[in-house]
């Protein structure tokens, strides 16, 4: 344990407060019926991808990070070469 940790040992409550505020701000919108924007974007992006090609579910990696002022949505899709070269199945 270094000195910095020693003086910070009692200060875990502010961290808890901040984490809860961010979490609950997101959860209240969801439970209140409105789906949150990040989740809507996720669904719609996946729908668009499905419209243009059939990718196996496991070649799509999705990561989210819900923050206080900024949330991030990371969609990582492996597109098979056969699709990019024009052998696109009818949508």
């Amino acid at each position: 344990m270094n000195l910095f940790n020693f003086f910070n040992r009692r200060t875990s409550a502010p961290v808890a407060r901040e984490r809860l505020q961010v979490l609950l701000a997101h959860e209240r919108t969801i439970v209140g019926g409105e789906s949150d924007l990040v989740a809507i974007l996720r669904e719609e992006i996946l729908a668009v991808i499905a419209k243009h090609m059939s990718v196996p579910q496991d070649s799509v990696q999705i990561k989210m990070d819900r923050g206080a002022s900024v949330s991030t949505l990371e969609v990582d899709i492996e597109i098979p070469t056969s699709v990019t070269t024009g052998m696109r199945p009818a949508a």
Binding site: V31, V60, D65
Partner: protein, 268 residues
């Protein structure tokens, strides 16, 4: 092939989720591949205790309903890379939790992990029965308090009758994890002693987790106590529990007074 471990208690608030996180992290730190599943549909908290609440994309119900593959739903821990979390759904109805769906998820995970830890919700309803359904090993979390002990007894009865092992004429390996134990108060006769609890429940003791502010501190920070304060008394007790679960014989350490602490010899 994974071992399936259920962390259960009947009563709420005794430390199931805290213990799931602490045991899971300690197992993963010893090099084991661990998947923790939160079965508390509608009131999930394992994500929060693990500090992964901002990163939840898909959940157990999404996997059961086929909206997502298990690999997409598993959240890998940022501190220990062999540690994974499958969160419960916060919004879906728990009717979506089906016997067949849970069986599929667990069978899928068995091949890829060494341990699957099922964090049971409180109560004896569907979430709790499905969390224990596939268990090979059960950790019964109990506080030295009358209502907790009564509920643990009820749960032990269910482990002996409602699990797949029980239905096949086998036994779920049961362990008692005594949490929030204050040795000084037990000494003064204010709370039940370890011996009393063991005598009443008659299942073997896995570990005694002493009452400690470190547990709350770790929860505040979103870290299992075994990662957040690995040298604290509760973390050491959880580490001991993990060694025992892995089949190493460890003498369960009772909380010692200052005198015996000062003069005790450490075993080599």
């Amino acid at each position: 092939m994974a071992k399936v471990l259920v962390v259960t208690s009947g009563k709420g608030g005794v430390g199931k989720t805290t213990s799931t996180a602490a045991l899971g992290a300690a197992l993963a730190q010893s090099g084991q591949k661990v998947a923790m599943i939160d079965f508390d549909v509608g009131l999930r908290n394992l994500d929060l205790i693990m500090g992964a609440e901002r990163r939840v994309v898909f959940d157990l119900i999404n996997v059961i309903k086929g909206d997502a593959k298990i690999e997409q739903a598993l959240i890998r821990d940022k501190r220990v890379e062999t540690l994974h979390l499958l969160p419960a759904s916060q919004t879906r109805d728990k009717d979506n939790l089906t016997d067949e769906g849970v069986a599929r998820v667990i069978d899928g995970l068995r091949e890829k992990f060494d341990w699957i830890i099922c964090d049971s919700p409180a109560g004896i309803e569907r979430g709790a029965t499905l969390a224990m359904r596939h268990a090979d090993v059960a950790v019964v979390v109990t506080n030295p308090e009358v209502s907790s002990i009564r509920d643990s007894d009820r749960i032990i009865g269910m482990l002996d009758s409602k699990t797949l092992k029980a239905e096949n004429g086998e036994q779920v390996e049961k362990h008692l994890l005594l949490t929030r134990y204050d040795a000084a108060r037990a000494q003064r006769g204010e709370i039940l002693k370890v011996e009393d609890v063991l005598d009443i429940l008659s299942i073997p003791l896995l570990a005694i987790i002493p009452e400690s502010t470190e547990v709350l501190r770790s929860s505040n920070l979103g870290a299992p106590v075994t990662l957040g304060s690995p040298n604290s008394a509760p973390a050491r007790a959880y580490q001991e529990a993990v060694r025992k679960l892995q089949g190493q014989t460890v003498e369960v350490q009772k909380q010692r007074g200052l005198f015996s602490k000062l003069f005790a010899r450490r075993a080599a």
